[in-house]
């Protein structure tokens, strides 16, 4: 079991701590490679020029991982963007509230702060894909004009573990995250590029938090359980594009919700109807495949479930206003 106890704001120190505990080699640089027997993958830190600390995680640990932050008066915040397929159980604890998640897909954005103590236990073998952005009160005031007294923020944080499921990782976030992960090496504009994508993620979260202010106040008519079920639907939608997604009726059975309620609530939570959401992400996936340069047009079309390439081209053009073949040339 790996236990990381953190009471500082420095992600470089975190990498150092991790190396010390696991015996992984670390040269004090920007990233650490996770190797056997500890696990696999990488963890990378970025320190952006506008004083943001960012951690990019794409790793699997062979042991359980426990991550703890004590409560402290030197206030700071961490915005988490996570995409996890949980098999087994994760435990999160905020202050005195415990949240367990078992065998589920967890694709969420959440904000935590050291106003409360926080700990998290992840089971071994979990593929962790996340981006964490750390900033303090001073930064938040300077760049966002928000203080810890801002009512929206206070309400959100006071929900503790209940705040976890409020903001799903939707197509808008996924696009930015994808762009962050696919930054080419040696790009002279790397800093501006990353800085812009990271601040756009932050902007999106806080804009939506304001939009949902009513929901944070408790007026929203979905329960936490219903939100969980909707996330299950989203997960099956984006799981595999090569096969047609379940029908609304099947979904409705799967999550025990009437189809009318399902359609309405999905739209409320994800901003798009079920099918247009599916289509959007599917095309996003196709774009990603084409840009990787590894797939032909036909292969891409098949990977996202089009038997007829012409239909794929039409659909792609509709979303991006450019022919898919154009991306292949790059």
């Amino acid at each position: 079991m790996i236990v990381l106890s953190i009471n500082h704001k420095d992600y470089r120190l975190l990498l150092q701590d991790l190396a010390t505990i696991t015996g992984l080699s670390y040269n004090g640089g920007d990233f650490i490679k996770i190797t056997a027997p500890t696990g696999s993958g990488t963890i990378k830190m970025l320190q952006l020029f506008n004083e943001l600390n960012v951690l990019l995680v794409d790793a699997v640990f062979n042991e359980a991982l426990i991550y703890k932050r004590p409560q402290s008066d030197n206030r700071y915040y961490v915005l988490h963007f996570e995409d996890l397929y949980i098999s087994g159980t994760t435990q999160s604890m905020i202050d005195d509230e415990l949240l367990l998640k078992t065998n589920t897909h967890h694709a969420l954005v959440r904000l935590t702060s050291n106003i409360f103590s926080f700990s998290e236990e992840l089971p071994p073998g979990l593929h962790i894909q996340s981006i964490k952005i750390l900033f303090d009160e001073k930064w938040m005031m300077k760049y966002l004009g928000l203080s810890s007294d801002t009512s929206v923020l206070q309400k959100y944080l006071s929900l503790k573990t209940e705040s976890f499921d409020i903001e799903p990782l939707d197509a808008g976030y996924r696009k930015l995250i994808q762009e962050i992960w696919s930054i080419p090496q040696n790009d002279p504009l790397q800093n501006i590029y990353l800085q812009n994508r990271i601040t756009m993620l932050i902007e999106r979260f806080f804009t939506r938090l304001h939009e949902k202010a009513d929901l944070v106040g408790g007026i929203f008519n979905l329960t936490q359980d219903e939100m969980q079920r909707l996330m299950q639907v989203e997960q099956s939608l984006v799981n595999d594009f090569s096969e047609a997604p379940p029908t609304i009726e099947e979904f409705s059975k799967m999550v025990s919700m009437s189809s009318t309620k399902l359609k309405k609530s999905f739209k409320e939570m994800y901003g798009n109807s079920i099918y247009s959401y599916y289509q959007k992400l599917r095309m996003q996936k196709a774009r990603e495949l084409l840009l990787s340069g590894k797939y032909s047009l036909k292969q891409t079309a098949e990977a996202v479930g089009y038997i007829n390439t012409a239909n794929f081209i039409t659909a792609f053009k509709k979303q991006y206003h450019v022919l898919p073949a154009k991306l292949l040339v790059v």
Partner: protein, 326 residues
């Protein structure tokens, strides 16, 4: 003619110098033009990351001569312009003089404190622009243009270098639109503004870098052709309520064959002539609906749709949402 001469400085100082010369007060880093000169405002915002952005929307009532002397500082101004009713433009940068009597200008260009800049615009010129001011230190500290980027920075610093001109593509126009649409009451006003400004800057630097390093890129056509396309683009976006002239007419204006016009336009603006017009039209529709001042019907009519359902279909096609749901 109103003349204004000053030495290159940051936007805040510029605004105060201009205000003093016009005899108008500066309030919250903003001035209103005096009646005899024009109608409109000039405003400066200081962003949290150290950038200064100046924007203005105005119509001039008399000609304006702008003269900026070079200075010892190391500032840069990246300027994005959308201009209408400009009849003749004469620009002087360092020792280079550009005269254009057919000027219909919309574009982006970067200038620096190492060269003198002067231009004259006629009365009735109507336009809006966004100016981003930054310094060498800013490039080091915030943009992190070190190592690989050092080369880019050097290219930016060449004194009196030719203007790095870019046509205003739809992506630029969209960001500009978002900036002008943004209301100060927005809970994240400064953050949203800063992000849009940074995206404009990123896009410009990216294109600038590509053109520096890749000989085969650029627009791959003569300067004259680029200029004509800027002229054609201006005609397309001039009035969204009126259908653009037919291609044959545009070809005559651009003095090239229809085929060449279509190809050249697409190369620069990425969209076909009509498609480009339609996209701008829908952007305008979104902006009008966003302002909450117009009904769907009014917007459709204003944009020249005689049949409202055609408008609904076109809008849905562009944004995947019905105008009434917007």
């Amino acid at each position: 003619m109103f003349q204004f001469t000053y030495n290159y400085c940051d936007h805040i100082e510029y605004l105060h110098l201009l205000a003093a010369s016009l005899g108008v007060p500066v309030k919250d880093n903003m001035i209103w033009l005096p009646r005899d000169l024009g109608t409109g405002y000039i405003k400066v915002e200081e962003l949290a990351n150290g950038l200064q952005v100046l924007f203005n929307e105005c119509i001039l009532h008399q000609p304006f001569l702008f003269h900026r002397n070079k200075s010892d500082g190391n500032g840069y101004t990246l300027r994005f312009d959308e201009v209408r009713n400009l009849k003749a433009l004469s620009v002087k940068i360092g020792d280079i003089i550009l005269e254009d009597n057919t000027a219909i200008y919309s574009g982006a260009f970067l200038s620096n404190s190492f060269s003198e800049l002067q231009y004259v615009v006629n009365a009735e010129t109507e336009g809006r622009n966004i100016n981003i001011y930054f310094t060498n230190e800013w490039l080091d500290q915030y943009a992190g243009l070190k190592n690989e980027g050092e080369f880019l920075k050097t290219a930016l610093t060449v004194p009196g270098s030719v203007i790095h001109f870019e046509v205003l593509t739809l992506a630029y126009r969209e960001l500009m639109e978002q900036i002008f649409e943004l209301k100060t009451e927005h809970p994240l006003y400064l953050a949203v503004l800063q992000n849009r400004v940074m995206l404009l800057l990123e896009k410009f630097l990216r294109n600038f870098y590509i053109r520096l390093t890749d000989e085969t890129s650029g627009y791959g056509m003569s300067e004259n052709d680029v200029k004509r396309m800027v002229q054609i683009e201006a005609i397309l976006v001039k009035d969204m309520g009126v259908a653009p002239p037919p291609v044959s007419e545009l070809a005559r204006i651009a003095m090239m064959s229809e085929t060449k016009l279509k190809n050249t336009f697409k190369r620069i603006y990425q969209y076909g002539l009509y498609e480009y017009y339609q996209k701008n039209r829908m952007m305008k529709a979104r902006q009008m609906l966003n302002s909450k001042k117009h009904s769907v019907k009014e917007v459709g009519m204003h944009l020249g749709f005689k049949n409202l359902s055609n408008f609904t279909i076109a809008f849905k096609k562009e944004f995947n949402i019905l105008p009434s749901q917007f």
